[in-house]
């Protein structure tokens, strides 16, 4: 026995429709949470990431003992949170002796863990420690420029993965139109060694230049940190193929016997099989049949008449 449950509220219905899978996706929401123990620097890192992504991020402040992203059973809580908050990227911070200031950045596909990157944070400088002209401060929610520097991002596997994840994390909303006056922030990531990346957030100052394009000037404003790649987990091949599929990739089913012409429009071909003239059943009784019957009746009548005559005669 099944029952159909539909929302009784317009608000709930709209929320559900927002969370439904779409053909073209806009930005992903980020979930920021922490593990059993965090250090001071890690707390700062997490809160600053939350500030940077204010519009599309959810911050959990309690500690979660049962989340271990790299273990097979420790992801259930993460997946549950992801389902409830509708977040597809998560940033999980924890601190231990073996992995100090640890940050696990992960992505979800259909609210199941897709891939993970574990980095350690070193040399963290928070927003407060930077002095700059406050007028230039980037506004919340503006689309950032992202710059990756270094051959490590191309050669080293882990850095390639980190580049993809960082792009997803820092990207913000996917928009079609953008206002050029609202571009005021940039993230610069440089691969300074084969496992270290220097990430910093800068404000942009546009300076007059001779051409239409203004001259860019970057001023460091936001948090800056060194990310040391520790572990990573790539998605398995089948899942990756499915996640990378877009709407345009679906092969268009070719309709047979239809072609289009510039002049006449759509033309269709119809193939008619040969008619079998002899086997077709006739719809109504042909004249021949009627005549046969008539003649048969006449014959009978004649026979009877002849019989009577015979009797009479006899």
């Amino acid at each position: 026995m099944m029952k159909i449950k539909t929302p009784r509220n317009g608000r709930v219905r709209r929320e559900l429709e927002k969370r439904a899978p779409k053909l073209v996706e806009t930005g992903k929401k980020t979930l920021i949470l922490q593990g059993t123990k965090t250090s001071g620097t890690l707390n700062g890192v997490l809160s600053e990431i939350y500030h940077l992504k204010k519009g599309g991020a959810v911050r959990f402040t309690r500690k979660n003992d049962n989340i271990r992203p790299f273990e097979s059973g420790g992801e259930t809580s993460l997946e549950f949170f992801s389902l409830k908050t509708d977040c597809s990227i998560f940033v999980y911070g924890s601190h231990s002796k073996k992995r100090p200031n640890n940050l696990v950045i992960g992505r979800m596909y259909d609210h199941h863990v897709y891939d993970l990157v574990e980095v350690g944070v070193e040399n963290f400088k928070s927003i407060e420690s930077f002095t700059y002209d406050k007028k230039m401060a980037p506004r919340v929610g503006s689309k950032p420029f992202i710059a990756f520097v270094g051959e490590g991002f191309e050669n080293v596997d882990e850095l390639k993965h980190l580049k993809e994840v960082l792009l997803d994390l820092l990207r913000g909303e996917v928009v079609e139109n953008i206002n050029l006056a609202g571009l005021d922030r940039a993230y610069v990531c440089t691969a300074i060694s084969s496992n270290k990346v220097y990430l910093t957030h800068c404000a942009i100052r546009l300076k007059k230049s001779g051409t239409v394009v203004p001259r860019m000037e970057l001023v460091e404003v936001g948090p800056s940190m060194d990310l040391v790649v520790r572990r990573h987990r790539l998605p398995n091949e089948g899942l990756r193929k499915e996640a990378m599929r877009t709407a345009k990739d679906q092969p268009k089913k070719k309709i047979k016997n239809v072609s289009s012409d510039a002049i006449e429009g759509t033309i269709g071909k119809i193939y008619i099989p040969d008619q079998k003239v002899g086997d077709v059943a006739l719809p109504n009784k042909a004249k021949g049949v009627k005549r046969e019957r008539r003649e048969a009746k006449k014959k009978e009548a004649n026979e009877r008449a002849s019989k009577k005559q015979k009797e009479e005669s006899e």
Partner: protein, 339 residues
């Protein structure tokens, strides 16, 4: 100290304008600069170059003037990123839709208000105060095909109910078919109302509050201490005692007039070994009971005989009554003597 760096003379950055992304794969840091500041400065320099490259292509795109500033239409991003949710599957056609397609039935748009001839106003097509409401019909003419005892109004209501039920069933079937493919609409959830029980389709019995309260107690009796020291949840009441309340005398007690143990044993003995026979038996009551029984028996017999012959009942001899009580006296005294 001069830093050694390799730089390409040309600048083939990988620029993705759709994402405002620029990637320089040709810069390497074979040796890190000595101070952090130098490193930061260098990174910023490289970053500036890349951002400039993106801005070059960005500002050269055709722009439209808007209130806040020039608006530019971004090209689609070139770097592919994984989706966050699966691709939505198109909804399968419902059974009616398939039938309509086969027959060529077009869907006609209906107005929300319809002209009502009877009242001469515009009324809703459905809802409160609608056009052809079932309840508004005052008279239903009887047809030849109608059975005599059937109420036509009730019949109409039943028909409507059946139609609605059929519609609901069909809707459920359509949704189940969509759910099988994986294309259930986002606002609909199919919930199972009962567990799939093999055999009869009986719904699970609802447990009462008292039964639930007893369940924990029943489990507690399996422990060695009868559940007395089990850890209780906050707010859980102590288990109710089952069975008869047995009261035991204290082990150590002072002797005296109020000594309870002595009283107890005394009362028991007195009952068993009584000195006065009449304390056990209520003689008067026994006699009356016996008399009543006898009279009843005689009456029944007389009634039976009376039905056959109406002779005088009064001349019948009365039976002799014997006192049975006398026997008990010597018996009890015998017992006393034995002790």
């Amino acid at each position: 100290m001069e830093m050694e760096m390799e730089m390409e003379s040309q600048k083939p950055f990988h620029v993705d304008v759709g994402n405002l992304l620029a990637f320089n794969p040709f810069r390497s840091f074979p040796s890190l600069p000595a101070s952090r500041d130098e490193l930061v400065k260098e990174c910023l320099q490289e970053g500036t170059k890349l951002v400039q490259a993106v801005a070059d292509s960005l500002f050269n795109l055709p722009s439209t003037e808007d209130v806040d500033g020039p608006l530019v239409k971004l090209p689609p991003p070139t770097s592919k990123l994984p989706r966050e949710k699966h691709l939505p599957k198109p909804k399968p056609p419902t059974k009616w839709e398939e039938f309509a397609k086969k027959k060529g039935i077009q869907n006609r748009k209906k107005d929300k208000v319809v002209w009502d001839e009877q009242t001469g106003t515009w009324k809703r097509r459905f809802g409160y105060d609608r056009v052809n409401d079932d309840k508004d019909i005052p008279i239903i003419e009887a047809k030849m095909t109608d059975e005599p005892g059937v109420d036509p109004f009730a019949k109409r209501q039943d028909d409507k109910k059946k139609r609605v039920e059929k519609q609901e069933k069909n809707r459920l079937q359509n949704l189940k078919q969509a759910a099988k493919i994986g294309a259930l609409p986002s606002h609909v959830q199919l919930a199972a109302t009962s567990l799939p029980i093999t055999g009869t389709q009986a719904p699970p019995k609802k447990v009462t509050k008292d039964e639930l309260g007893n369940v924990a107690g029943m489990a507690a009796t399996s422990t060695a201490s009868g559940g007395k020291f089990d850890r209780k949840l906050p707010g859980e009441k102590p288990a109710k005692k089952q069975g008869k309340h047995r009261k035991f005398l204290p082990v150590v007690e002072g002797s005296g007039i109020g000594s309870r143990e002595k009283e107890q044993t005394e009362s028991v003995l007195n009952k068993l070994i009584s000195k006065h026979s009449h304390e056990i038996l209520n003689v008067g009551k026994a006699v009356t009971m016996y008399n009543v029984k006898k009279e009843k028996k005689a009456r029944n017999k007389r009634n039976q005989e009376g039905k056959s012959s109406s002779a005088t009942n009064k001349l019948k001899p009365k039976k002799q009554l014997q006192k049975k009580t006398g026997k008990k006296g010597p018996v009890s005294s015998k017992k006393v003597k034995a002790k």
